[in-house]
Amino acid sequence: MSPEDYTYITKYLLDTTGLSLGENKEYLLEARLIPIAQSRGMNGIEDLVLSLRSQLDQSLKTEVMEAMTTNESSFFRDKRPFEEFKTSILPDLIAERKISKKLRIWCAACSNGQEPYSIVMSLRENFPELIDWNIQIVGTDLCTKALHRAEAGVYSQFEVQRGLPVQLLMKYFEQCEQGWKIKSDFDVGIQWKHLNLLEDFKHLGMFDIVFCRNVLIYFEPDLKKNILDRIRNQMNSSGVLLLGAAETVLGISDHYSKLPECQSAIYRVSGQKTQETQEVT
């Protein structure tokens, strides 16, 4: 891959997805983009870049963006955040909302769906009193393929063994030709929506809990701040934000304070909403 092509693609990804690849990631680009070039009868990345530059093929742009996003996930990923979600976050929120009986939860990079399904299972298993509540869970992701998988709720044998206790597998899944599928009579009530976090997300409404785990890590600090500030504006006054294990708001945004009783990266919104922050694209 020529240095010019590398520069073009990395800038393209930064502008369209926020993904900051940095230097010396040619191997990663080649591993993910050469198969796309080949499937389209192109000679290699040089042709692919030419086609991207022409801006004529929208499907190619989407395919490149989706190929470069990481859809690694697992049920109850990292375990502890879900324990603390259960023991430290939900009891207070449930007490606060006992009159309205309404909770809204957003999984901002839900990938193949394991995170929203884990949330639903956790609610069902631990908070039976919520049965008559209006619980809305919104799962968004940049990758359309991942969203389709999430909505189908079908997972491989390997995927259902990562983080998912067998008792929950028995209760909430059924076997199918492709592996294991969320039971059709399990009314999960998750709304799946395509969303690029660089774009406006005010239309999603306000939330009590936001999971934005293992996505900001790929972004530059300015973009992290922009997204965190805009997420703050979509959160209710006692809203809670969960980040990934390697992520923090420290030194990036002043609008959150860490929950001292939690060891995971869990924050409560603090202070007023931010001044209107513009989306990036």
Binding site: K79, Q157, F158, Q161, R162, P165, V166, Q167, M170, Q175
Partner: protein, 122 residues
Amino acid sequence: MKTILLVDDSRAVRLVGRRMMGTLGLNVLEAEDGKQALEVARANPELDAVLLDWNMPIMDGMEFLTALRNEERDKQPIVVMCTTENDMPQIVQAMQAGANEYIMKPFTEDIVRDKLEETGVL
């Protein structure tokens, strides 16, 4: 250090399992069928866990599990099935017989670690 008993008639699986358990900091015992496993379990009353295959000669995993759970022991070990019996009815059967977790072969080190953590062995 906790002790785990690997029960599998395949020497290759026991070899892989021994290496994995060693890296997870567990003391490893081995048996190649259910009858032998029962003897090892009786000789080791402090046994913490069993990683148990289903299909084995002489005494299979389900017979071993039933016998183990019917024994009067001060300490009943955690039992994690590890088998190619990958259908829901088998999973239900094993859990009803007293298994604590279930690994469907082929497995990875991550899956084994997850399941042992899930059951408190690690």
